[in-house]
């Protein structure tokens, strides 16, 4: 008979450590993290920021982030000046196409900064966002995957 490591058959007691892991809980994950929106100023530019997840199962180079569509409270938001803040470094969305050596690791939420002339009011806001990405190896070639996400997110403090 070939070598076979032990696999407990169904019903057999699993080690306590394994049972503890199986009891863990996670959190729901879409492009939009379930966290607050903050009014913010970055390098003298006013706007708001929110935390976002990469919408894949693996790390992607930033050159695979193709675009962003954003609505707040049903209104289209101009994202031409938006920045993705990854591990402390801000990357303008307009530059992502050329950043094939910068990796967005799958477990690292990033911050999305969006310039905005007026601060968001305190309270709940409906956010609809779509991240457009490329999975750089699918056999059909380079084409876009759309990852829509919607959440009601709160602004906890007024503009500072």
């Amino acid at each position: 008979m070939p070598n076979q490591q032990s696999i407990p058959s169904s019903g057999q007691e699993l080690p306590a450590g394994v049972r503890a892991i199986l009891a863990h809980t996670g959190k729901s994950r879409t492009f939009l993290c379930e966290e607050t929106i903050r009014n913010a100023v970055r390098h003298g530019v006013a706007g708001f920021e929110l935390n976002v997840n990469l919408t894949s199962y693996r790390a992607l180079p930033l050159s695979c982030i193709e675009g962003l569509i954003l609505k707040v409270d049903g209104r289209d938001v101009d994202v031409s000046g938006a920045q993705l803040v990854l591990n402390g470094t801000a990357y303008p969305f307009a530059d992502l196409a050329s950043l094939s050596a910068v990796w967005w690791f799958i477990l690292d939420p990033a911050t999305l900064f969006v310039p905005s002339p007026s601060p968001l009011a305190r309270g709940d806001h409906r956010v609809d966002a779509t991240l457009i990405t490329v999975e750089p190896y699918v056999t059909a070639g380079r084409f876009s995957f759309y990852h829509p996400a919607s959440r009601t997110l709160a602004v906890e403090s007024a503009s500072d």
């Binding site: 490591q5 696999i7 394994v18 863990h24 809980t25 959190k27 729901s28 997840n53 477990l107």
Partner: protein
């Protein structure tokens, strides 16, 4: 590491993607789970290795610490060619070599003995081979849909492997190429994405008729498929193929590893993938290597239990067909 002959079972951590990316299970948690799921561990470079494609001391320590603690065997490391990572053009051969070599080094340093190659790496395989020899790492092209065994692409790979004739270059069939039907949940996903019933049914007909991916997409787009749904439809052609398990026998001398891709379990059996015939071919023909369970079905299920059930099924078939 004991090197007993025969079919050995392990897990690709890709099976636990849903739990991993929702922070339910950490890398260390998943490695501990593998200790009761056969003991062979396979990772996906860009999913599990922080710092990919380069190996940091920190990651090496984290990984090896769990490997030693739980007595695991690193089996295969999933490399990527990612030829479409640049917006303006495809990677050229030099760039692809520069991208893959650090992955091979990562794999070897982490203790893996096999590296999964994507078929895009074909054009640079001969430049990777000296690295594979130096690192004592066998490279295998993954035969993942649409690389069915008789497909033109696979035949080209086999010709290259036969010509080079090195123990460091072989094949890693993914059992997704041995499907006889599309799981119902995949069709439900299409409907949920807003694809009309007419298009869903047409997609099934095209798949059953073994229509190539490009042709099928073109027809469906003509019939009104919206571009934002291309990805969802592509998944059918990207996940399920119709090779005959008997064909596995012909390529078995070049098979260095197996991906036990599965999508669901029902009454102890995988309803859409021909595991019994595949296992039969493997054990009757003396396959000596690992099969990594690779769950790629719906999220929000008990993945651990599904993998246990799938491995119990394979073991059952293994015992049934094992020559005595």
């Amino acid at each position: 590491m004991t090197a007993k002959a025969g079919l050995k079972l392990g897990v690709s951590l890709h099976s636990f993607t849903s739990e991993y990316i929702t922070y339910k299970w950490s890398l260390e948690d998943m490695l501990q789970l593998v200790s009761v799921l056969g003991g062979g561990v396979e990772i996906v470079g860009p999913s599990h290795q922080r710092g990919y494609p380069y190996l940091t001391n920190e990651f090496e320590r984290i990984f090896k610490s769990s490997i030693e603690r739980w007595g695991l065997t690193p089996t295969s490391y999933g490399t990527y060619a990612d030829p479409f990572m640049l917006k303006e053009r495809d990677l050229n051969d030099d760039e692809m070599v520069d991208y893959i070599v650090p992955q091979l080094k990562s794999a070897a340093q982490l203790g893996f003995t096999i590296a999964r190659l994507q078929y895009f790496s074909y054009t640079v395989a001969e430049r990777l081979l000296p690295w594979a020899e130096k690192l004592n790492l066998k490279m295998g092209y993954e035969l993942h849909v649409p690389l069915m065994i008789k497909s033109e692409k696979t035949q080209t790979l086999i010709e290259q492997i036969e010509r080079i004739d090195s123990p460091y270059l072989g094949l890693i069939p993914d059992t997704g190429i041995f499907a006889h039907s599309i799981p119902e949940f995949c069709l439900a996903n299409l409907r949920a994405a807003g694809v009309s019933e007419e298009l869903v049914q047409r997609a099934v007909v095209l798949w059953n008729a073994r229509t190539p991916n490009h042709e099928a997409l073109q027809e469906l787009l003509k019939l009104g498929l919206r571009k934002e749904n291309i990805g969802t439809v592509e998944r059918l052609w990207g996940s399920f193929g119709q090779s005959e398990p008997e064909e596995l026998k012909e390529i078995l001398p070049r098979v260095i590893h197996m991906h036990g891709k599965f999508f669901s379990m029902k009454d102890g059996v995988e309803p859409n993938i021909r595991f019994e015939e595949v296992t039969k071919v493997l054990v009757e023909n003396g396959y000596d290597g690992w099969m990594s369970s690779e769950y790629e079905g719906q999220g929000d299920v008990d993945t651990f239990e599904l993998v246990r059930e799938q491995q119990a099924m394979i073991r059952r078939f293994q015992q049934k067909y094992q020559p005595r």
